[in-house]
């Protein structure tokens, strides 16, 4: 399993557009991908579950990837988070 933490820097937090970007990216991988904030965990392949986390600026989110392409998935998501959020 691969895991990393990212602190949201976007002022609006994970709103609909970046959530859409993340979900699209996540759906390109076979691994199970989740994002957690505090006690809440959401499936990164499902837009409602990502938006429902309600992550805001300054929130540390933990991304976990588990599966055959976990390395690539984690790297791609980290890059994607840095770029959009």
């Amino acid at each position: 399993m691969k895991e990393f933490t990212y602190v949201i820097t976007d002022k609006e937090g994970i709103h609909a557009r970046p959530a859409g970007v993340l979900v699209k990216k996540a759906n390109g991988f076979k691994s199970k991908l989740t994002m957690s904030l505090g006690e809440k965990t959401g499936d990164l392949k499902r837009i409602f579950s990502v938006m429902a986390l309600g992550a805001k600026e300054g929130d540390p989110v933990v991304v976990r990837a588990e599966g055959e392409d976990e390395e690539q998935a984690a790297a791609a998501l980290e890059a994607c988070l840095k770029e959009t959020l």
């Binding site: 002022k11 609006e12 937090g13 557009r17 499902r46 837009i47 579950s49 938006m51 429902a52």
Partner: protein
């Protein structure tokens, strides 16, 4: 025959069938199903159709209004692909024996509630998106699609009200006119009608009922009436007006490709004012010789956060490319406390018309300004681009703005990014101060563009938003005309050119006055281009 009265927002008579547009007009039955497997299949088919509709809407919005407005249709597609959402619908059908439409309705409401309960205004507002996308599927299941199946022939679109995304669904050549129950002359429908040149009547009230669907009607956008099942006399009168209108229209169309020249040979540049790419398309179709004012505000007002340089560049570049060799003048951000997006975080002001707005805001926030200037400069590599600064009231402001432009150029040079080194710069003359010191200002820039709406408001101390004092307003006030004349003389003395991009520019009663002043360019909204060309061609300044 039934005559309904409302407020006309854009002129012209049309005769045609009513298309009653009622998004989600079907009522979802609570009946349980005997055939859950069949209902699951129906849901999946409807979901696929909804996805296809959303994809088409996305493409359409992208082409007409850009990425910012299109993004919402992309999000809607992802919502319909969400496995939790799909599981919920399937579960309600197979375990709860709900019919497909009911299952979607319940699921939509459930997911919307999750958002509505979140501790964040933005997320709360997203519950509307869930309901919207669910309704789309329900409509398909009920056979009452929000699509436009009835629009095989050009129709009068009748609706309770129209949101931007709803109006976007109609193919433009299938819309004869708009008629809405709600709305005022400044509602979205009204603005849309005016910019597209579509006749419209708003505020028709409760008399607009679904039984009007398919009936023949006469809509009179000038007098604000919608006459359903017109009698012979009404129809004949309407047909007569329509014929005259079509004749006038044909006469205007015949002006396409003809020069903007008076009888005695004086040529004027006839440009258009546009507020987004769709309006730019309209302007080019109306044969405008260029764009005298490209308002950049929409990029900011539609966004949830500051648009990035790349996002802006994509729009500016497309606009420049659409214009080809024709000049396109971009006005830098003209935003203030009265017209703003939440992320700007501007404090409320006692007097926003005279407050921190336009160039003042940009000079106070160099980061914001640099992003836009870099995007505009980079776009200049793809067309005939000019840049102008709004709300100038002193030479110092112009110098500061030009310094900022120079900084942006310098950074692009260092990064090896291309731009037009000969890019023209101009300023808006819309404060009396700018007209009074026009001589000094003319030495700093290549051109002036007069914003007559603000110039009149500031010169006469007459708030243009305040309806109660409009009786004191004189659109042809000599003070305003003299200020324009001063600016024109100053510009020409320095060998610079001057245009008018305010509403007065389209006022054909003043065209002769303006041309005699030596105004070089008139920039007007797309539907006014050809009528103004007709006026210019009818003038003989030598007499």
């Amino acid at each position: 025959m039934r005559e309904l009265r409302g407020a006309g927002v854009f002129g012209g008579v049309v005769i045609g069938p009513v298309y009653f547009y009622a998004p989600g007009r079907c009522t979802v039955s609570e009946e349980k199903t005997e055939d859950p497997a069949g209902e699951v299949t129906r849901f999946e088919i409807a979901r696929g159709r909804a996805q296809a509709q959303l994809k088409a809407l996305y493409e359409q919005a992208l082409a007409q209004a850009g990425e910012e407005s299109a993004a919402i249709f992309d999000i809607h597609q992802l919502m319909l692909d969400d496995q939790d959402y799909i599981d919920s619908v399937h579960g309600l059908i197979t375990r709860g024996r709900d019919n497909a439409a009911r299952a979607v309705q319940k699921t939509g409401a459930r997911f919307a509630r999750t958002f509505a309960e979140m501790d964040d205004e933005y997320m709360k507002a997203r519950s509307a998106d869930v309901l919207d996308v669910s309704q789309r599927v329900i409509d398909i299941l009920c056979g009452a699609e929000g699509e436009t199946p009835g629009l095989s022939v050009p129709s009068i679109i009748v609706a309770e009200d129209l949101t931007p995304s709803q109006s976007m669904q109609f193919e433009r050549d299938k819309v004869l006119a708009f008629a809405t129950a709600k709305g005022s002359s400044c509602s979205h429908t009204a603005i849309l009608a005016r910019t597209k040149g579509v006749p419209a009547v708003v505020g028709l009230g409760r008399a607009l009922t679904p039984d009007l669907h398919g009936k023949t009607a006469v809509l009179d956008g000038e007098n604000g009436t919608l006459t359903v099942d017109p009698d012979e006399k009404t129809l004949a009168a309407a047909q007569k007006r329509l014929q005259k209108q079509q004749k006038d229209h044909a006469a205007l169309q015949a002006l396409k490709g003809t020069p903007d020249r008076t009888k005695d040979g004086r040529t004027v540049k006839l440009y258009a004012n546009v507020g987004n790419l769709e309006e730019l398309q309209d302007a080019l179709e109306q044969d405008a010789a260029g764009v005298g004012l490209f308002r950049t505000e929409f990029l900011y007002l539609q966004a949830a956060d500051y648009p990035t340089e790349e996002e802006q560049l994509a729009i500016y570049r497309r606009a420049a490319e659409m214009c080809g060799d024709r000049k396109i003048i971009f006005r830098t951000l003209d935003i203030g406390a009265d017209k703003t997006a939440p992320y700007f975080d501007l404090p409320a002001e006692e007097n926003p018309a005279m407050g921190l707005r336009a160039i003042r805001l940009c000079l106070s926030r160099p980061g914001l300004f640099q992003t836009q200037l870099r995007a505009l400069l980079r776009a200049s590599a793809y067309g005939n681009v000019s840049v102008m600064f709004p709300m100038i009231s002193s030479a110092r402001e112009v110098e500061k703005a030009l310094e900022q432009l120079e900084t942006a150029k310098e950074s692009l040079r260092k990064e090896g990014l291309a731009f037009d080194e000969k890019l023209e710069t101009g300023i808006m003359v819309e404060t009396p101060a700018a007209a009074l010191i026009a001589e000094e200002l003319a030495g700093l820039v290549d051109f002036f563009s007069v914003g007559t709406n603000d110039l009149a408001q500031y010169a006469c101390a007459l708030d243009r938003q305040n309806q109660t004092i409009q009786q004191f307003s004189d659109p042809h006030h000599p003070a305003v005309l003299r200020l324009i004349d001063m600016a024109a003389r100053a510009a020409h003395a320095k060998g610079k050119w001057i245009g008018i991009c305010g509403e007065l520019g389209a006022d054909t009663e003043l065209t002769e006055t303006f041309l005699k002043m030596g105004i070089d360019e008139l920039s007007v909204s797309a539907p006014k281009v050809l009528p103004l060309r007709g006026k210019i061609q009818s003038l003989d300044l030598s007499r």
